[in-house]
Amino acid sequence: MSARPLALSSRIPPGLAHAGLLWPSLGVILVFMVAPIAIMLTYSFLVPGAYGGVEWTFSTAAYEQILFERDFLDDSLTFTPDYLIIVARSLAQATIATLLCLVISVPTAYYIATRSDRVKNIWLFLITIPYWVNLLIRTIALLFVLRDDGPINSALVDLGVIGQPLALSYNGFAISLGLIYSFLPFMVLPLYSAFERFDFRLLEAAYDLYASRRVAFFRIVLPVMRPGLIAGSLLVFIPSVGSYLAPDILGGGKTLMIGNLIGTQFQAARNWPFGAALSMILLTITLIVLVWLARRAAQQQQTN
């Protein structure tokens, strides 16, 4: 017998009850998330106000500002790569982080998935805890470790391995490390779920047909796992590209990413339309990546 629809009262018509249950949540999200983003979209076409906020004049200046600087004497536009560099850096950092996370996560997730049940749970527990620990704290911890007078450098100097502390912090390297450190668990856990569902008989078949371990891994396991890999990659790429804390705390203010740039527009710089335009760009990048990767995952499903 299939289920009777869950109802809370036979006196309230089911349609109304259904709506009453659903709309608080939908309403809250629509009003406080979707509407704000729509407002932001509008703001990105407005002009910054004198004391912050916006003035209601239509203008595409915010978007132009990403690429060009307007000379206010003769109103000509000169190409400024500064902001583009920031966007490019964000994309690059996110890509590097995603790739490195893949390299680390795939074997780890696979390994955990092939342990016995009891051991599996212990591993999962260990991976889950950093997943839920405050991102700010973890970033601070990483900074602590990487600093010039942090434990690593002190130890190396004391042991005489190096004379000067290594510049491990306040640069691009630290940001990369920070991104990986932040989002690694985001990839391991879903990958683990995917590997759990992997049919290991495929491996047996591969070995039966004389495949070496390397071939078996790269040509059998990975392709079958592609949807999982894509899902995990999304979970690292998207937060990475919009990351605020890692570049802020670990990058030292010289290596900005989109996240910081946006934040500044709404705090110190007080250029809301510009910040809004940047946000739209970030959102678009996110959407493109989501749709592109989702489509690749769907294609995989079809060919399977």
Binding site: T108, L184, W272
Partner: protein, 266 residues
């Protein structure tokens, strides 16, 4: 043919080492941070003996206390409201019912897909545009919004794993829909509800960037306060308070995990 040593077919060489390395990498910084929080001296590099003094400083600090209380209060309220809303949404969308089920799901998980910074600035813009002054209330509203999907997913999962004929059986045995919900559905959902609440609680407690942008003067949470401390320099007090938050998160995750295990035995 040379005799090859028979190993578990599924094992690939080097994976175990990498896995251990992965876990070590994840824990090393926070473990080191925690260890140095007990360092008696101010210097980060020299170990001057075991001491609780930084913790004493932190506990005595009124600002930190206020921020911590704020964080917990906001987290409790946000988690509770979000869980209630999410429960309704889960019931309404269980098993992909018609009535915009798919669209509803997209909206409900929307906050998870938008980069946090975008959510943060969009919320700020919204509150200002609508005229809500920034403060405690705006933090709370923003938290509720992003907590809903975190509460929703475990509840929905639990609901869908429930035998769908049970409400029919309850009705067959003369239970009104309200009684059926209270006596049958709710008890079975409880592990999912608790899971959802804990998740939402942790997420709210930990949030930084959204809170930073929608908080007004005077309203502060613990992460915000810690960030402010960090701006002034990496001090042992920062170590101590960070380690405390770490411990709190870990305890919450442990509780959530244990409850999950207990629930599974049912």
């Amino acid at each position: 043919m040379p005799t090859a040593r028979l190993r578990d077919l599924r094992v690939f060489p080097g994976f175990s080492l990498l896995s251990v390395g992965c876990v070590v990498f994840l824990y090393a910084p926070i473990v080191v941070l925690a260890i140095y929080s007990f360092n008696d001296g101010r210097s980060v590099t020299r170990w001057a003996g075991f001491s609780f003094r930084w913790y004493q400083t932190v506990f005595a600090n009124q600002n930190i206390q206020a921020a911590a209380i704020n964080s917990v209060v906001i987290a409790v309220i946000a988690a509770t409201v979000a869980t209630v809303f999410a429960l309704g949404a889960a019931i309404a969308t269980v098993n992909g019912k018609k009535g915009g089920g798919e669209g509803a799901y997209v909206v409900l998980t929307f906050p998870l897909m938008v980069p946090e910074i975008v959510t943060a600035v969009a919320s700020l813009v919204f509150f200002v545009a609508v005229g809500i002054s920034l403060g405690f209330a705006t933090i709370l509203i923003a938290h509720i919004v992003f907590c809903i999907p975190f509460a929703y997913l475990p509840i929905k999962a639990r609901l869908e794993s429930m035998d769908a004929t049970l409400p029919s059986a309850a009705a067959d045995l003369y239970a009104s829909p309200a009684k059926a919900f209270l006596r049958i559905t709710l008890p079975l959902l409880l592990p999912g509800l608790v899971s959802g609440w804990l998740l939402a609680f942790i997420i709210s407690l930990d949030d930084f960037i959204i809170t930073a942008l929608v908080a007004g003067p005077g309203a502060t949470t613990l992460p915000l306060h810690i960030y402010g401390m960090l701006r002034l320099g990496m001090t042992p007090e920062v170590n101590a308070i960070s380690t405390l938050m770490l411990a709190a998160s870990t305890v919450l995750v442990l509780i959530s995990g244990l409850l999950g295990q207990a629930g599974r035995k049912h």
